[in-house]
């Protein structure tokens, strides 16, 4: 935290900082604008999405897509299913991986000795 704090104060006056900020912002826009545009598409009426773009598109924003999503589908059920799978996977992985990762010191050093001989990583 203190290192970051010191870094920030020092950065602002540094040469190249303006370049870093400009380059970073431009690059961030390349990554964020398409995603933001997709969010905007989701609040456009579907008829407009498949039409030629015009400036008037933005004056017809609607939440109909979202309310339709909840009414016409079992989307909440699907989301709950995904959540169940995610939580289950996380818990099971945490338990099994922790158990597999925490050997006794003897097995740990044995594993390391084996690894230093035959693994690609040191």
């Amino acid at each position: 935290m203190t290192a970051a704090g010191r870094g920030r104060g020092r950065d602002l006056g540094r040469p190249g900082f303006a370049l870093y900020l400009t380059g970073g912002t431009l690059a961030a826009l390349i990554f964020l604008l398409p995603l933001a545009w997709a969010v905007l598409r989701s609040i456009m009426p579907s008829a407009l999405v498949t039409q030629a773009p015009s400036a008037g598109d933005f004056s017809h924003l609607t939440t109909a897509n979202y309310s339709g999503l909840i009414q016409a589908n079992d989307i909440l059920r699907y989301a709950a299913n995904s959540l169940g799978v995610a939580v289950g996977t996380g818990l099971l992985t945490a338990v099994i991986a922790t158990m597999a990762g925490s050997g006794s010191p003897a097995s740990d050093s044995a594993a390391r000795a084996w690894c230093s001989r035959s693994c690609w990583s040191r």
Binding site: R8, G23, L35, P53, A100
Partner: protein, 285 residues
């Protein structure tokens, strides 16, 4: 030892057994339903003479050859940009990594919508700045579709390379750079003489993950081109999918899948070997 048992059991049950079973299926004429019999290596000898399979392999190789470089270079440049804890670097990291979080399938549908001639935003913007004609049908032309998908995948995947390289860069002791600065090293010299050599293992990991990802490419092609026009943009995994679940040749498709596993294994081993840490070993001696 007892504690490792559940993990070993899981790996055996969900990795080793299915893999062995897949090899067995590939030696039969397995249909989706009904009886099957053992036919030995017949699927494999058919495979190497199947023009459709060979085309999909060559196309996957071409695709991998095109995207690996840009993903690595863009990822490396972004890692350089965000590796120090400068003001805004956390925001930039998040922004660059966000496409990877949102997911390839979702974004493929976004891309499909925006690449539509006359109504898509990409088509509109590119024609306004003069990079393409208005009403370009991006997804039904081999060259255009391949170009669009390569740009799209670079946009999607370079964030992961950035994360992997950034973690490695932050692990390099700052004393090395300070010593180099005292000796009057330029930015390029520090990057070339310190960062790159010490980053070999991270570079190897980033490249292997990227190449494996390209070999297993499916979503973007399935959603954007459906392999078309014809089967010209059909990667190997889509060939496997078509053969298994459209043609119901499960044994034959599995032979293709086993061949893909072997090829990926060989290429990964070659990359590990080429990018092995021999510099460090020599220094330690």
């Amino acid at each position: 030892m007892l504690l490792v048992t559940p993990a070993v059991a899981m790996v055996a049950l969900f990795v080793l057994f299915p893999l062995g079973f897949a090899v067995y299926i590939s030696l039969t004429n397995w249909p989706l339903i009904g009886p099957y019999h053992f036919i030995g290596g017949q699927n494999y000898s058919l495979l190497v003479h199947d023009p459709q399979f060979i085309h999909s392999v060559l196309f996957t190789l071409l695709y991998t050859a095109i995207v690996t470089g840009p993903i690595f270079l863009v990822g490396y440049a972004m890692a350089v940009l965000v590796r120090s804890g400068r003001f805004g670097s956390v925001f930039f990291r998040t922004a660059f990594f966000l496409p990877f979080i949102v997911g390839l399938a979702t974004e493929s549908f976004m891309a499909l919508l925006e690449l539509q001639p006359d109504s898509g935003a990409a088509d509109y913007v590119l024609s306004k700045i003069g990079l393409a004609h208005a009403g370009t049908a991006w997804t039904v032309d081999y060259g255009l579709a391949l170009t669009a998908i390569c740009v799209f995948v670079t946009w999607f995947a370079s964030g992961l390379t950035m994360m992997l390289l950034m973690a490695g860069m932050q692990g390099i002791p700052s004393e090395l750079y300070e010593a180099a600065e005292v000796d009057g090293a330029s930015w390029w010299q520090k990057e070339w003489r310190i960062t790159l050599p010490l980053l070999r293992r991270n570079i190897a990991l980033a490249l292997i993950i990227s190449v494996i990802g390209s070999f297993l490419a499916f979503n973007q092609f399935y959603i954007l081109t459906e392999g078309g026009p014809g089967t010209s943009t059909q990667p190997v995994v889509m060939w496997i999918y078509q053969e298994a679940f459209v043609q119901y040749h499960l044994g034959y498709a599995t032979a293709g899948a086993v061949a893909l596993v072997v090829v990926i294994g060989i290429i990964s081993a070659a990359q590990f070997y080429l990018l092995r840490d021999d510099n460090g070993r020599r220094a330690r001696r």
